[in-house]
């Protein structure tokens, strides 16, 4: 078991180094010298320029600069934002729970709707319901989610006035951030009005971000179920006179869930980065919106650190899924 986990962890290290290298190189591709960009039109004395270059390590070889960068990153130094002069890491940590909360809710929504829909579609294969689910899921998969979000805002927030348009919480409420998850924090503070407000802010972004995973989960569940339903052991179970519900729930679903769980797990990672559009539309104060703002403000250290941190969290989530999967399914653990 330990060996399995260690192998998986060791496989992640080159990927992490590769991403560090990628972000390091990408920032070097930005046109213009970082110091000249910072001093702007005023110009700078050559000695001062040399001193600054030395201070920032820009006079060293690219290789040495990269090693320094990796060293900094490993000790938790992701640089300072050019705009706020705060540490990139601390900005990221304050914003990350908002993104995580949204991503988890979206995944929960996708699973709770997609799983039953996929199962039913497979059981009633060829029926009107099946065609409906497949059509809807293909449409969801093809949806430009920025437009989908706007339509939902137009309908539910503007026309019906049911949900707020943007943000995480109405301004009249203040809740001490403990976990950073608004739903949990408001409950811990015992403020149920604030909880309701947080929930109503969460609904539309959850649906928008969850649309694509919902489509993926429904399709995946359906095809996995169809495959399992054709197996011999299902025929055996039916032949020995088990009720339909028991055959589908106990015998088929358990085996069909294996690929579905993987897909769900891997989608969480994608959602962390995919939240960029959703967060922008709903002014959700998470890392995706922060990243776009950093781009617009040409805050390259924030962009560099932010991308690296998001990528790292995606890798870690995927690693976690991988390991959990091995724990749950002995066949994976012992293969290779």
């Amino acid at each position: 078991m330990l060996r399995f986990i260690l192998t998986r962890v060791s496989l992640v290290i080159p990927t992490f180094l590769g991403i560090t290298f990628l972000t390091f190189i990408l920032i070097r591709l930005v046109p213009g010298d970082p110091i000249e960009v910072r001093v702007g039109e005023r110009g700078i004395a050559p000695e001062r320029l040399a001193a600054l270059r030395h201070e920032l390590g820009l006079d060293q070889s690219l290789w040495q600069q990269f090693l320094d960068y990796v060293g900094n990153v490993l000790s938790g130094d992701f640089g300072l934002s050019l705009v706020t002069h705060n540490s990139v890491l601390s900005e990221f940590i304050t914003l990350f729970p908002a993104t995580l909360e949204l991503a988890l809710c979206a995944m929960l929504f996708a699973t709770l709707v997609g799983l039953p829909a996929g199962i039913l579609a497979a059981v009633k294969r060829g029926s009107l319901f099946d065609h409906g689910v497949m059509g809807a899921s293909l449409t969801g998969y093809s949806m430009p989610i920025f437009w989908w979000g706007l339509l939902l805002i137009l309908f539910f927030s503007v026309a019906l006035g049911w949900t707020p348009v943007s943000g995480r919480l109405d301004l009249v409420y203040y809740v001490e951030p403990v976990t950073g998850f608004m739903l949990i924090d408001t409950l811990m503070a015992g403020d149920y009005e604030a909880f309701r407000s947080a929930l109503s802010h969460l609904i539309l972004p959850t649906i928008v971000l969850g649309t694509v995973p919902l489509a993926v989960v429904a399709r995946m569940t359906r095809s996995a179920m169809l495959e399992v339903l054709g197996e011999d052991y299902i025929r055996t179970a039916r032949a020995k006179g088990l009720a339909d519900g028991r055959v589908i729930g106990m015998h088929a679903l358990r085996n069909a869930l294996i690929p579905v769980v993987t897909v769900i797990g891997l989608q969480v990672g994608t959602l962390l980065g995919g939240a960029i559009l959703t967060e922008t539309i709903f002014s959700w104060p998470g890392v995706g919106k922060w990243l776009i703002e950093s781009i617009n403000r040409r805050d390259y250290p924030a962009l560099q650190g932010g991308v690296l941190l998001i990528a790292t969290s995606v890798i870690l989530v995927n690693l976690l899924v991988d390991v959990l999967y091995g724990v749950l399914n002995p066949r994976i653990r012992h293969a290779r």
Partner: protein, 303 residues
Amino acid sequence: MSAEISTNAEPAVKVSRPPHPLTEFWYHFKQNKGALGGLVVIALIALIAVFAGVIAPHNPDIQYRDAILTPPVWQEGGSWSYILGTDDIGRDMLSRLMYGARLSMMIGLIVVTLSLAVGLGLGLVAGFFGGMADVLIMRAMDILLALPSLLLAVVVAAILGPGLVNAMLAVSVVVIPHYARLTRAAVLAEVNKDYVVASRVAGAGPLRLMLIVVLPNCVAPLIVQATLGFSTAILDAAALGFLGLGAQPPTPEWGTMLASSLQFLQRAPWVVTWPGIAILVTVLAFNLLGDGLRDALDPKLKR
């Protein structure tokens, strides 16, 4: 050849000859009504894109100052000269959408060609030579895949600077690993088969083996992926346009059109509705076609 013999032999020949692969493919493909529908829609959009200059009722960039935010024709205040209405500075929506179709088809074509060419090359080299080349290429692909695709596209577009060309480059980079992986897997499945060994023994060089012997047997999954790649490319380029990192106004790219008229969402919903529907329909058509192609080309799924 005498007449008697040919009449006797003909039925036997007819029975034993397998259908041409294309005939067989078309037989399976046309079973799938969704895929056929997708194909028709794509053909229509392609026609619109090609003939946009002829069929568009107005110049997409001309601002009709006396017709700002005219609603579509079936709403009160609409007019037949602007069937789908006008935007916030009086440009005809229908004409802009038609020119946008041109851009979207071009984006899809360029992105797919570019990423397919690079991914195919990398995958062929990795699968064919194995060893160090394989490890290096596939590790690099894994790194690109570890990043969420839109995040990577956003970063590349931000570094290169906003613009349509850079957005296309960014989207292409993001999808290269998919083609590389598919090609490598297909090559690995083929490379030890008897016919490849036979041509190797017969003295075929590596280039001939790669491109003429092995490649034609690997195209089926690539065709499917390329079709689905059109939809990803159009969707991602529109998303970049929406974020302000893609095509810049006044280019009539659908995502950019959506973003630039965002503040009129409540007053004039049509300026936001039409570009979105255009994106959705196009992407949906390509996904339908891709699914149909997969079913028709994948022998394992054939009934």
